[in-house]
């Protein structure tokens, strides 16, 4: 006996995959894990008119980039141009997405998990795709700290790619 009422109710209330446009958010950080996440998002997005938003969260604003000051004993990731790093990481991820899939490249500044969640909320994202590890600095846990926080607080479904 088909339970049509609850199926329809379920579809009205946040059905992810059978709607016109699937809006996927992939936070990226240039790691192999986030490459895998992008590849998986591409597989999901290719059937239909869907969109992938690539999001890189920087700790420092581009306004802090200063061509003159170079402190040789600090790593480039801290003192180097954040603008350049953001662009490199986003372009690398974007290159994994075939041209027929609509994509955007986004940069935010702040605490990664917080910015990713705010983006998902305000942009009405249907699905966040993350690698199991890679978005945070600390390795050694099965699930990275950023991925963990995204899972707990996400306003939408989260796909963790192994």
């Amino acid at each position: 006996m088909k339970n049509q009422n609850s199926v329809e109710a379920g579809k009205a209330k946040g059905a992810i995959f059978m709607q016109a446009v699937l809006h996927i958010l992939v936070p990226v950080d240039g790691s192999l894990h986030s490459d895998r996440a992008v590849a998986q998002a591409v597989k999901l997005a290719s059937a239909g008119k869907n969109r992938i938003d690539l999001l890189y969260v920087a700790y420092f604003d581009q306004a802090t980039d200063d061509a003159v000051t170079k402190i040789s004993w600090l790593p480039g990731s801290v003192t180097g141009s954040t603008g350049k790093l953001s662009r490199t990481i986003l372009q690398r991820a974007a290159a994994l997405i075939p041209p027929e899939i609509e994509q955007t490249q986004q940069v935010r500044t702040g605490i990664p998990a917080k910015e990713i969640l705010a983006f998902a909320q305000t942009q009405a994202v249907n699905l966040i795709v993350v690698g199991a590890r890679g978005l945070g600095r600390v390795e050694g846990f099965l699930l990275g700290s950023v991925s963990q926080e995204l899972l707990e607080q996400a306003p939408c479904a989260v796909l963790v790619v192994k």
């Binding site: 006996m1 088909k2 339970n3 609850s6 199926v7 379920g10 579809k11 209330k13 946040g14 059905a15 992810i16 995959f17 059978m18 998986q40 597989k43 999901l44 290719s46 059937a47 239909g48 099965l142 699930l143 899972l151 707990e152 607080q153 996400a154 306003p155 939408c156 479904a157 989260v158 796909l159 963790v160 790619v161 192994k162």
Partner: protein
């Protein structure tokens, strides 16, 4: 589209039902096979250690639980459209272990489940089973969030 076999552990909770619905839609898009899995874990749900109690009592409690599990699976299988291949399994044992074993045995490439189930307290955002499966499965895992009430 990538996935060919999707495992959907369900426990009868509303979150699990929602996850199952999403999995059905996903299976349609990907042309994937679906396997619904319900685990009967008497020790966890009733606090009955398997060594204690008369054999007859234990058997009927177990049978009732498996019956209940099969009903849940049948309800879900009813929702699956004819073009999607789907089956349901009801197994008794340790929830987390059974799910992970079945994931390996069935060689599924994706697990779709709710982020919380019947066991979790309302305040818990990611349930212990969802967490354990996520951490230990070798395939990708999609967690479907519970509806906010």
């Amino acid at each position: 589209m990538g996935w060919s076999r999707i495992l959907v552990p369900v426990d009868g909770s509303a979150n699990a039902f929602k996850a199952a619905q999403q999995a059905i839609d996903l299976a349609k898009c990907c042309e994937a096979e679906l396997e619904f899995l319900h685990v009967v874990n008497l020790t966890a749900s009733l606090g009955i250690p398997s060594a204690v109690g008369s054999k007859e009592k234990d058997t009927s409690v177990l049978e009732d639980a498996i019956d209940h599990g099969r009903k849940i699976l049948d309800q879900l299988l009813d929702l699956v459209p004819p073009e999607v291949k789907a089956k349901g399994h009801c197994v008794s044992g340790s929830t987390e272990k059974v799910i992970l074993q079945e994931a390996e045995a069935s060689r599924c490439d994706l697990i779709v489940m709710g982020s919380r189930g019947l066991g979790a307290l309302r305040a818990v955002l990611v349930g212990s089973i969802s967490c354990a499966v996520l951490n230990n499965a070798s395939c990708s895992v999609m967690l479907i969030k519970a509806d906010k009430k």
